[in-house]
Symmetry: C2
Subunit: 272 residues, 2 copies
DNA sequence: CGGCTGTTTGACTTGTATCAATTTGAGTGG
DNA sequence: CCACTCAAATTGATACAAGTCAAACAGCCG
């Protein structure tokens, strides 16, 4: 794990906007060729013809301010979103109207995969840090509009990857104690940041303790205490939302429940 | 919720085998047109030409005996599977080699979606009740072999549906007490059985208490106690693996955490 | 500066895991 | 058909991780 000497915030603009006014979503011209997330783009393997068509259809990136919605639960489904910069959480609602966070997304992530096949979005996407996003109209994948097999393959790959991630998430929500959940969350986030070329050993969390607890199935107080314990163990340094990772490998080992350090070795059994 | 007067086991053979020997997987001729799961099939919306090609590629259904593997973790990925009859669990392994169940599947379900895009299966599929399965070579979806947009659309739909189910599963693993998890599990299973035209108010579970606990993030003893409590509340009758559902709607309400019955109303808070 | 929100820490409570003992059921073989 | 064996399920007693309640503290912003 090597990090850049300078910490780059994921709110940095990867794409220079034409205009610079913040607020409600605005349009910017953004040729796909110049996009910083080209390597994660669905269109990365397209032939020139198909790529041009794709590029024309998505050639606009929206700037979204913190707190705004990319889309709302039960809005009609019309597009996927790729995050170019910033961060986003996606959430459902329970019966009492509480948010249930189902995803925490960083640049390079594709959003709204869970909406495919339905008429409306089954979740909302809320901007945590000012974002640039690329809006990908779903009709691009519609047989009536286009039939680029490569584009389809790329999409199904991404969906399968998302499914695998969900499996992992659901598995470690089952029995792992609080510290392990948090450790794995941090290690996983660090890895994802690294794979997108961000600093992975120090970053600012855009999620509150409450949101982290929500996502990990813990009370916010428990999250706070777990942060303290991980810090006491020397694995991280935490000051409010600023995190420094000292030993990601150890975090991962702890997160996988293979911890053998200290007196607190007991694992909760899963009965098989 | 209406059920058939006669309980039909999901081990019933929907497709008559040519030969009848049980044991290691054998081949049976099975024209897709006569398939009982045609309505759930990926090929259901294909034009005649594409359907024929599809049918030729998958025109064989395997019989698999209880305890056998449809595929194993880290086997090379080559095919998806549709369950025609019987039931199957899919599971990953943790570091200690324990099973972690990520799915419980009944006829009409499509398996191995999570393997797409990788070289090998990320999970194993184990037969719980003798099965007939349809093996769908993944090359059917490969651009080099075919480029039927409809088939792709169907696949991505199924994947998105699986993703939504996983979101729901992960959400209710977070904070819901044992009784709610079990209630929702039973109600959901009942609904799925109903949608596949099986008896939904009485069935035999092919999962053990241990497996259910594993899937729901509970100890097997807790599962057993929850069964007893649901029975005491008059919602179900349970005798070992045989379940009778008396009030599915109430089970669902309970499962969603909106319970107001009895003294045990307290919900575990999720802190928002 | 207040007012507000988010975070930390402490004290107490509780749901469920764990350990342990019993009962039931299925399968096997005489 | 009845014993025997083994796995699965039930039920009870106890312990502990994490939830809840509460209070103090730190940042942030108009």
């Amino acid at each position: 794990m090597q990090s850049n000497p300078v910490v780059r915030s994921i709110t940095n603009r990867f794409v220079k906007p034409v205009s610079d006014q913040l607020g409600s979503p605005e349009l910017y011209s953004k040729p796909c060729d110049a996009c910083f997330q080209k390597s994660n783009c669905l269109a990365r393997s397209l032939e020139l013809d198909d790529f041009r068509r794709y590029s024309r259809a998505v050639s606009q990136s929206k700037r979204m301010a913190k707190g705004h919605y990319l889309y709302r639960l039960s809005d009609p489904f019309e597009a996927l979103f790729m995050i170019l910069s910033g961060s986003v959480k996606s959430c459902r609602l329970d019966e009492e109207g509480n948010e249930l966070i189902v995803g925490f997304h960083i640049p390079g992530d594709l959003l709204a995969l869970d909406a495919i096949g339905g008429r409306s979005y089954p979740s909302s996407a809320i901007v945590l840090e000012d974002c640039f996003v690329c809006k990908i109209p779903y009709r691009l994948f519609d047989e009536r509009f286009s039939d680029s097999p490569r584009l389809h393959s790329e999409l199904i790959r991404q969906a399968a990857q998302a499914l695998r991630s969900e499996h992992l998430h659901s598995v470690f929500l089952r029995k792992n104690p609080a510290d392990e959940r948090l450790a794995l969350f941090l290690a996983d986030l660090s890895r994802r940041l690294e794979s997108r070329n961000y600093a992975c050993d120090r970053f600012d969390l855009s999620l509150s303790r409450r949101d982290i607890g929500n996502y990990l199935g813990l009370a916010l107080e428990t999250v706070s205490r777990s942060f303290s314990r991980l810090q006491d163990a020397g694995l991280i340094t935490v000051r409010h939302r600023h995190i420094v990772i000292h030993d990601r490998q150890h975090l991962e080992i702890l997160g996988r429940g293979c911890a053998e350090s200290g007196p607190n070795v007991r694992r909760v059994q899963c009965n098989g």
